[in-house]
Amino acid sequence: MSGHDPKPTGSATFDYKHVGSRFLGLVALAIVAYIAVGFGAWTDTKQFAFSYLFAFTFFLTICMGGLFWTLVHHAVDAEWSVVVRRQMENIASLLVVMGLLFIPLIFVAPKLWYWMTKLPGQDILLDEKWPYLTKEFFWIRAAFYFLFFAIAATWLRRNSIKQDASGSARYTLLNRKITFACLPLFAVSLTFAAIDWLMGLDYHWFSTMWGVYIFAGTALSSMCVLVLIVTALRNAGYFQNVITLEHYHIMGKLMLAFTIFWAYIGFSQYMLIWYANIPEETVYFLRRNTESWQILSTALVVGHFFVPFLMLLPNLGKKKPAFLCGMAIWILAMHLLDIYVVVLPALHKAGVVLSWLDFACLVAIGCTLAALFLKRLGDAPLWPQRDPRLPQSIALKN
């Protein structure tokens, strides 16, 4: 409403001079990490399997979150998120790579998901879960998830880029239609991927809230990554008069909302199991609330909920990019801890045992994704150039 809004200035195309030789450093670091991981996989296959699953899940949740926010943008016809949508699409497009990075897990699958080593008739609880927990169905499902993720992310992004050239509103409508088909498939894929790969670490255990618990971390961590990417690009001189502090305000509010949502789901899952006190269900929390795992679980309650909740609750910080970035890094660290406490207790039952492979796998996958993300940045304009709602999105007021 303020009459004339300043026009976007500066280039919309990413210039690799901001990265320079650091890109090669990233690739070199990834290669070194992969060699180290390969060595670790050869010497300690079991530790490698869990460390790799831990790192893989951490980055998978972030990439799935990128797809989630893109879907939400189209489904609710959002105005504010037009300017940040391309970055969400870039994060989501890495899901194709996640499909390739899943391959090492295929070779160590029986070490991770030990139900694969059981024969029919050995354990009645496993037999009860036939045919869901059979190898054939398991791999078919995994292929389906990645096929869906890859098609949805690539298709939505491609239409969005086509619109930059033609400016036709047809692509906005087309993407909305694609989104409505994708939303239920996304929910199913995320939920069952979480069940297959994380809950499946102990096939005796089950929780009906597991999918939504992983989803809560997914949406939250991805929003944090979005804040960091947008701020980095702004600091490099992009998004002038495009992304304003009002957009930060909204991203901050979403971070707060999903911090609360994560706590709500996490607590509900815990309380139901704790209160009912059925051994089959309590086994998960029993392991994570005893020995040195107890410290990490408690740290999660404080660090993943209370700290960000109290920091993000007041209005003051949400319009300060530096503050919001600090919170984003903090929450991402907590998300990492969350995934660590989900995956690793299945291996180290007696207490926390840090392994150098945990870090090596994180560096290997992280550097790969970072390098490919930089490639994606330069492939297309940094924000949708001719989206019909771009002017309203830029002129956003809370």
Binding site: M1, S2, G3, F267, Y270, M271, W274, Y275, N277, K397
Partner: protein, 186 residues
């Protein structure tokens, strides 16, 4: 100048009509800068940024809501720990009666906090707005009915310390207001 209402009754204020939200927005900015205090704008829909254009301060309601939520939370804490942990300790399903019982008590704390916050927010908002009320002097003006349709209005109240009917009328005219009218009470 036009006048509506009972001519012998005290003047409520002077109102002007605008034909679009943009004009109303800019008029509000100028009225704010002119230093008026008791005035309001009326429009068929919320206008983004209008609170800033009017120079409205942050509402005190949030503080009331916090106190309401705190009351709900403390009520739950007292009722739960007071009864089940101190006055008549109940050990159910092997659950302790000390601080570690908190997961079982959490839903009640949560719900009562939300409940009393919501009540404070709704009823506090109504009280601060002076609602419910049966009538308003502005309804004496027939044109004002268009406020729920396609017209935008500004009214500067006679209680404003800077109010004088001639200068206010000239001022509203200079802002581009149409059908400037003096509103009397009933």
């Amino acid at each position: 100048m036009n006048a509506v209402g009972n001519p012998t009754a005290p003047v409520y204020g002077i109102a002007a009509e605008f034909s679009c939200a943009r004009d109303l927005y800019h008029a509000a900015e100028k009225i704010r800068d002119a230093g008026f205090e008791k005035w309001d704008v009326f429009s068929p829909f919320p206008i983004h940024g209008m609170d800033e254009a009017m120079g409205l301060k942050k509402s005190i309601l949030g503080k009331f809501v916090f106190l309401g939520g705190l009351t709900g939370f403390l009520t739950a804490v007292t009722l739960e720990f007071g009864t089940s942990s101190f006055l008549y300790p109940l050990i159910v399903a092997g659950k302790p009666t000390n601080l570690y019982t908190v997961p079982a008590f959490f839903p009640v704390m949560f719900e009562l906090t939300i409940l009393l916050s919501a009540f404070t927010a709704v009823f506090g908002m109504l009280i601060l707005n002076g609602l419910p009320r049966l009538n308003h002097q502005l309804f004496n003006w027939d044109r004002f009915k268009k406020v729920t349709e396609d017209k935008f209005f500004v009214a500067i109240e006679a209680q404003d310390p800077k109010f004088s009917s001639r200068s206010v009328r000239d001022f509203l005219e200079s802002l581009g207001g149409q059908n400037i009218t003096t509103i009397h009470g009933d």
